[in-house]
Every structure is written in C-alpha cells, then in structure tokens.
Subunit: 266 residues, 2 copies
C-alpha cells in the first residue's frame, strides 16, 4: 500500500522530530536496565515461543474479512479475527487457542472511553503475538516496531484508505487525517468533517473501513517481515524527544502551553 | 479495597453525569442493532467458550506478583501475568495457552505512545478473556463492565494505592489522581507532582506500584463476580451523554472550547 497523502504539516513539533527515526522507541528507553531483573517470574506458557508460524496472507482478502467482521466484533476484534481466523485455518495452533472474540471490548477506544483506536490496539496484538515481545530475543522487537509504525501511519494517513468491494453504505465516505492514534480524536475529526453523528450508519461504516484499512496495512507489513524485508525501525521516539510517553500532536491538547517534563540532571 | 480518596471535584462536567450509571456504556450504544449481522463469520476457536474457569485469588499476593512482574513485562503484561500465571498453576488450560509475554507492548501506553495506561488495558484483557465478550450471551457483559469501571476507579483514585511489602524504592512515592485512563496524563501528572523524570528509578517504581494497585482491585472485582456479588453496571456512558466516545475530563484537553458532537435529527 502506497502511503500517499501523508500530511506532515499537521504534525506539530515537527522540527523536533528530525532524526527521531533512528532512536529507540520510548518504551525501550523506559525499560532500559530493568529488562531481566525478574526473569525468575517467567512462567513459560505453552505458546510463549516466538515467532509463531506465519504464512503470507492476501491484504485485500484480509481487509474484506475485517470490514465484515467489524459488524460482529468491532474494530479491535475484527483486525485480530481477520488475520488469526485465516491462520487458524491454514496453520491451526497456536492460533485456534487464541480467544479472538474476547477482544470486542476494544470497541470505542476500549469500552467506549475513546482511548486508543481498537484497530491500532488490535494491530499491535497481532504483530506482537505473532513475532513476539521485544524481550523474547533477537528479531522479536519487530513485533513492537510494526505495531508502533502502524499507529504513526494511522495518524498521518487520510482514513479510511480501503474501500470494500460491496460496502453497506453506497455513498462516498469522507476521509480525514487524525494526527492521533486515539479513537476520540479520530472519530471526532471525522464527525466534524462529515457532519454525521456517532450512531449513524455512515459513522459505523467509516469505522469498519478504517478497520479494513489497518488490517490491509498490517498484512503488508507482516508479509514483508516474513520475507525478511521489513527493515524499518520505530519512527517515533517520544521519551527520547520529550521526556515522556506521548503521541505527536502536543498542541492538539496542550495548545501553546506545552509543559516541560522533568529531566535527569546532566 | 475501599475506594477512598475519590476526587469527584476533579471530574469535569460532573453535573451531566447524574444517572449515567444506569445507561449502557458507550460501546454498546455504538453497536446497537448491528450485533449479529455477520454471525456467519464467527470462527469458534477452541477457547471461545465463556466464562473460562476461575478460582478466587488473593488480592495481596496478586499485587505482589504484579509489582515484581512489572520489572520483567511492564504494566499491561504484569497485570495479565499476575492473574493468568496463578490460574495456569491452579487450573491449567485455557490459561496456559495464552501468550502472556506478547503483551509487553502495552508498556508506555502502547509502545511508548502514551495512550491507554497498560495496566488498564491489561485489566480489560483479563476481565474479558475470563468472563467473555458482551456478545457471548447473558452475563458475559460483566467482563466489559469490570474493565470499564476499573478505568473509572483508576481515573479517580490517588495512585499508587498499593504499597508492596518489599519495595525497591524505600522513600515515599507521591500519590496523584490522573482524572484519565491515559498513560501520558497519569504519568505526566505524577512527574509534575514529584519532580522525577521518566527514566528515574522512582518513576519506574511508581508505575510498578500502580500496576500492583490495578491487579489488586481487579482480583477483588473478579472474586466478587465469582461469588455472584458484582452488581455494578458501567458507570460511564460517554456516547449517551456526549455523542462521542470519550473520557471524563473534557476540559483537560479542550479547555473551555468543548465542541458539540453532531447529533441525530429529533
């Protein structure tokens, strides 16, 4: 999928981000020096061996499944289902043991609270469950990198990107750029641009198409990883840049009064 | 755990929330009328039967495990591990098949992006994986209700609530009320109050104790549910109240310029 329409001009503090692509992502910085202190607590479940077996999937077919699954298990559940259900059929375990439907709760930014868009949460669950957590050894950090970079892609891309073959809503659906991985911001900007309320069929179909778009992008990235061609590093390093976990549009919430985080003594 | 210290005065738009406890939570409202259209897509994984078997756990023991596990798998992974590792030992499957460590990525509000605090995400994963998604039939909605109400408790409670028996940091750790389920807001308010930077041992121990606090509260709620005594309904209904998925402190980001969501025609 070509990442057209990237709207960098919307990303505040852009000037501070030069070179961020070469920095470790924030979470790794948080964890530095503490990664192995409590290894004795590791429980070693039967499926905690990574990577899980993966066969390349068709992005378009996956997006169609995700679109339709949205109407059953909503954004997060649909991203997970669109990929794990296919891998369950192609490969079997450990995918068949994963309780996909439990992740309906990711809807509405986690049970309606408007936090992270469920499609972003679902994409991170899929990439990290397949490739593994960054603590699992060399190469396993790609699961977190793919998930993090999909949140950046989500924030910068006019969504929905993917149009289903047989959409339930036949009229055009507005595309909006969220500048944020959050449900509240993503849905709010779309509602403002389109004028449709949260309960409208158009808003629902917009979210189903966003879910399909994320599933499409995720399969592209997983296929590249399978081929040994996913070379990207995490493109966003908030802790190293700003001294706190953060998304990119500081001014979106803080306006011009952006606080300065306490920093370590030099 | 007594929910002492609830600081309702910090919650903006409080006046609008009267009676919200009797409303369906936002996500259910979003989904209304679309819950079963695509049932044919259900894949029926081997562990998609709810509730999963549950035996009551000790909240204090669970909090201690969560505290220590934070230093291995961080906030979200530690909440999941503290409960599923015990249930895996007591009960076995399906807990042993769940890839706990894959959820390290919840750290820092999902790979450092500062979205939902991983301990809240982990709590929702645990409650929904055990009790089931709301689409799984009568009673299964309690999984989402427990998860949603823990986010409200998290937002209103001075945290960390739980002090471990043998903390790594011996000095007092400041308690702060986040008024938000988000990592960025929760950590940011604590950093402002304490003056400690993100990479400090004190900030890390604070987050480990917050994780322990959430695990403690979650086990209390799961035990009450097991005894048939979890009567609460979701206490936050943003879609019904505001016409959009949302957290509670609108003014925290919007200041006095809170937008009005498009609403359906009367």
């Amino acid at each position: 999928m070509k990442q057209n329409g990237l709207s960098h001009s919307h990303v505040s503090r852009r000037g501070l981000l030069k070179g961020a692509g070469t920095l470790a992502f924030g979470a790794a910085t948080i964890a530095a020096g503490f990664g192995s202190l409590s290894a004795a607590f590791a429980k070693g479940g039967v499926n905690e061996k990574w990577p899980w077996p993966y066969e390349k999937l068709d992005p378009g077919k996956t997006a169609e499944i995700a679109y339709n699954e949205w109407y059953r298990v909503f954004c997060g559940g649909a991203v997970i289902s669109s990929i794990f259900s296919q891998l369950g059929e192609k490969i079997g375990e450990p995918y068949k043991s994963f309780p996909i439907d439990a992740f309906v709760f990711l809807e509405g930014g986690i049970v309606g609270w408007g936090t992270v868009c469920g499609s972003n949460a679902g994409a991170n669950i899929v990439s990290n469950v397949i490739i593994g957590p960054r603590i699992a050894g060399p190469g396993s950090e790609k699961g977190a990198v793919i998930g993090a970079n999909i949140m950046k892609w989500y924030s910068e891309t006019p969504l929905p990107y993917y149009t289903p073959k047989e959409p339930r809503i036949k009229t055009a659906i507005a595309k909006t750029t969220s500048d944020s991985p959050l449900c509240h911001v993503s849905v709010g900007k779309w509602m403002k641009a389109s004028g449709f309320p949260i309960g409208s069929a158009e808003r629902k179909d917009r979210c189903a198409r966003v879910t399909a778009s994320v599933a499409y992008k995720l399969v592209e990235d997983l296929n590249a990883w399978k081929d040994g061609k996913y070379e990207a590093k995490a493109e966003w390093g908030p802790v190293a840049n700003f001294g706190i976990t953060a998304q990119q549009n500081c001014t979106g919430c803080h306006g011009s009064g952006i606080p300065t985080a306490p920093m370590p003594a030099k």
